[in-house]
C-alpha cells in the first residue's frame, strides 16, 4: 500500500514566554504513515494531544518539529511561514464539534464547501442529495442545526466533508458526544460510505472498541507528551457487524492488547 500521508518526527510545544519555564512538549517524536485507502484509528487518553496532531496535519496549527509528506510531496516542514488549511481541499476534517454554520439549513451547510469553492451546479446538488439520502437526513434539508438532534448534526457535518471528495479525511472523535445507540449507527454509516469510496481516513478516538470496530490498523498514543505507544493491525475481516463487534473472533484479544498499551 502506497503511503498517502507520512508523519516524520513530529513535535509540538507552545511558544516559550519570557520569564517562564520552557513549555512542555504536547507531541514528541511522532512518526507514522497512512496508506492510500486505509482507515487508521488513533486511540489515546483524553488530553493526549490527539486534536493537536490532527490540527497540525490539517494545517490549522503549526508543528514545532518534524515534517509531513502528503502523497509524496513535503507539505509541512520546520520554519514553514504560512499555513495552508485543508491543503487546497485535499484534506477534509470532521471535528469533534460539528461546526455547522448555525444560520444555514442542513442542505446549505452541506453545499457550503462547494459554494465557496466556486459555485454549485446540478451535479453538486445531485451529489448532496445522494449523500443526504445515504445518511438518512431526507426530510431535514430545510432544518437549522439547532433543530436537529446530535446524531443528525454529526451526519450533516460528515457529509459536508464527503461532498467535495477530499482524498484524505481526518476525524477527531466525531461521535464522542452522542449516545451509544446513535454512535453505533453513525459508525455503520461511516463504514458503509467508506466501503463505497475508499478514502484515506485518520480517525481519532478515546474509545478502544470504536478504534477496533472501524480501523484497519490502530495506533495507541501515550499521555503527554503524546508518543506512539503501540501499533496493532486489526485482524477482523470486513464487512463487520458493528453491533456484535464484541462477539467476533479476535476482538477480545486485540482489545486486551490495546488496553495494555493505553496507560
Amino acid at each position: 500500500m502506497a503511503a498517502m500521508l507520512e508523519i516524520r518526527g513530529l513535535g509540538k510545544r507552545f511558544p516559550a514566554r519570557a520569564g517562564r519555564e520552557p513549555p512542555p512538549w504536547i507531541i514528541q517524536d511522532m512518526t507514522f504513515s497512512v496508506g492510500a485507502g486505509e482507515l487508521l484509528t488513533i486511540v489515546g487518553p483524553s488530553g493526549a494531544g490527539k486534536s493537536t496532531l490532527l490540527n497540525i496535519i490539517a494545517q490549522i496549527d503549526t508543528a514545532s518539529e518534524g515534517e509531513i509528506v502528503f502523497d509524496g510531496v513535503l507539505t509541512v516542514s520546520p520554519g514553514q511561514k504560512s499555513l495552508r488549511p485543508g491543503l487546497d481541499r485535499r484534506i477534509g476534517y470532521v471535528t469533534q464539534d460539528d461546526n455547522l454554520l448555525p444560520w444555514r439549513t442542513t442542505i446549505d451547510n452541506v453545499l457550503f464547501p462547494l459554494e465557496v469553492q466556486g459555485g454549485i451546479d446540478d451535479a453538486a446538488r445531485a451529489r448532496a442529495a445522494e449523500l443526504i439520502q445515504a445518511v438518512g437526513l431526507v426530510g431535514f434539508e430545510r432544518y437549522y442545526p439547532h433543530e436537529l438532534s446530535g446524531g443528525m448534526r454529526k451526519r450533516a457535518a460528515l457529509i459536508r466533508t464527503l461532498v467535495y471528495d477530499p482524498p484524505v479525511i481526518l476525524m477527531d472523535e466525531p461521535f464522542a458526544a452522542v449516545d451509544a445507540q446513535t454512535r453505533t449507527q453513525l459508525q455503520e454509516d461511516l463504514l458503509r460510505l467508506w466501503s463505497l469510496k475508499r478514502k484515506t481516513i485518520v480517525f481519532v478516538t478515546h474509545d478502544i472498541t470504536e478504534a477496533i470496530a472501524l480501523g484497519d490498523r490502530a495506533l495507541v498514543l501515550s499521555r503527554r507528551p503524546a508518543r506512539i505507544a503501540g501499533e496493532h493491525a486489526i485482524p477482523i475481516p470486513r464487512p463487520r457487524n458493528i453491533k456484535d463487534i464484541f462477539t467476533l473472533p479476535g476482538f477480545a484479544a486485540i482489545h486486551q492488547r490495546i488496553r495494555a498499551d493505553v496507560q
Partner: protein
C-alpha cells in the same frame, strides 16, 4: 421586559386575570398621564403647558398644511445621509482592521478615546466650515452612528467562533468569502444591536442638530416655536419627535426578528 415572564408559572386562570390587571393598569396609567398633562395646562397656564387636545389639533393642522411632512422629510434626509455614511464606515473599518492585528492594536485605542468628545459640541464649528445646510448635522449624525456601529461590529467580530473560521478555511473558502459568509453573518446579531441603538439615535441627533442650525425639520420647528413662545408648537413638535423615534425603534425591532430567525432563542447583548 414583558409581562409574559411573570405570568409563566401561574395557573391559567390566575395568569389570565393577571394579564387583565396589567393591561388595565397600563390603560389607567396612560389616562392618568394624559389627565396630569391636562391638569398641568390648567394649573400653569398656556405659556408653560399646551393642553393635550390643543396639541393634537396642532399636529392635525400641521399634517393638513403639509408642514408635518416637510419637517419629517427634512429630518429624515439628514438622518439617512448621516446614518448611511456612519454605518458604512462603522462596518467597513473593523473588516479593514481585521487584515492587520498590528494596525488594530495601534489605532483602536484612539478611536475609543475619541468617543468621549461631545459630538453635538462640534456643530457650531462645523457650521463655520459647511454653512447652515444639511452638512453639519449630517456629520454629527455620522459620528454618532459610526461609533455605535464600529463598537458593536468589532465586538461581534471578536465573538465569531474561531472554529467556524478554521472549518471554512479547511473547506477551501478564500478569506473574502469567509469575511462575508462566516464572519459577517455571525456578527449580524451584534450589528442589529448596534442598529437598534444607532437608527433612533441618528434621528434624535438630527433633531437636536436642527435645534442648533436649520431652516426646516422637526427640531427646527420645536426650537423656533420656543423662541416665539408658541408653547403649543413646542408640545406638538416634541410629540412628533418622540413618535418618529419610537416608530423607527419599532421598525428596527421587527426587521431584526425577521433577519435572525435562524437563531434558537432571542438573546440580546446587554447594553
Amino acid at each position: 421586559m414583558s409581562s409574559a415572564e411573570f405570568a409563566a408559572d401561574l395557573p391559567e386562570g390566575r395568569a389570565v386575570s393577571r394579564k387583565i390587571i396589567i393591561v388595565g393598569g397600563r390603560i389607567a396609567l396612560a389616562l392618568a398621564l394624559l389627565l396630569a398633562w391636562e391638569w398641568g395646562a390648567r394649573a400653569f397656564g398656556p405659556l408653560f403647558f399646551a393642553p393635550p387636545l390643543e396639541t393634537a389639533l396642532r399636529i392635525v393642522e400641521m399634517a393638513g398644511n403639509g408642514k408635518l411632512l416637510t419637517d419629517i422629510a427634512a429630518t429624515m434626509r439628514v438622518s439617512t445621509i448621516g446614518f448611511a455614511i456612519g454605518c458604512l464606515a462603522g462596518v467597513g473599518l473593523p473588516f479593514l482592521l481585521r487584515l492587520s492585528p498590528r494596525a488594530t492594536e495601534a489605532i483602536e485605542p484612539f478611536i475609543l478615546a475619541s468617543q468621549g468628545i461631545p459630538k453635538y459640541a462640534l456643530t457650531p464649528w462645523l457650521i463655520l466650515w459647511f454653512g447652515i445646510g444639511d452638512a453639519p448635522k449630517a456629520i454629527v449624525v455620522t459620528l454618532f452612528v459610526f461609533y455605535i456601529v464600529f463598537i458593536t461590529v468589532s465586538a461581534g467580530m471578536r465573538n465569531t467562533d474561531q472554529r467556524l473560521i478554521n472549518m471554512a478555511r479547511i473547506l477551501g473558502a478564500p478569506e473574502h468569502i469567509i469575511a462575508r459568509k462566516v464572519i459577517w453573518v455571525s456578527l449580524l446579531p451584534f450589528f442589529f444591536t448596534g442598529l437598534k441603538v444607532a437608527l433612533p439615535r441618528a434621528v434624535s441627533a438630527a433633531i437636536v442638530g436642527e435645534f442648533l442650525v436649520a431652516t426646516e425639520g422637526v427640531g427646527f420647528s420645536i426650537e423656533r416655536a420656543r423662541q416665539l413662545s408658541d408653547t403649543t408648537g413646542v408640545f406638538a413638535g416634541i410629540v412628533v419627535a418622540v413618535a418618529l423615534v419610537l416608530i423607527i425603534n419599532g421598525i428596527v425591532n421587527g426587521l431584526e426578528r425577521r433577519a435572525l430567525k435562524w437563531r434558537p432563542v432571542e438573546r440580546d447583548m446587554q447594553l
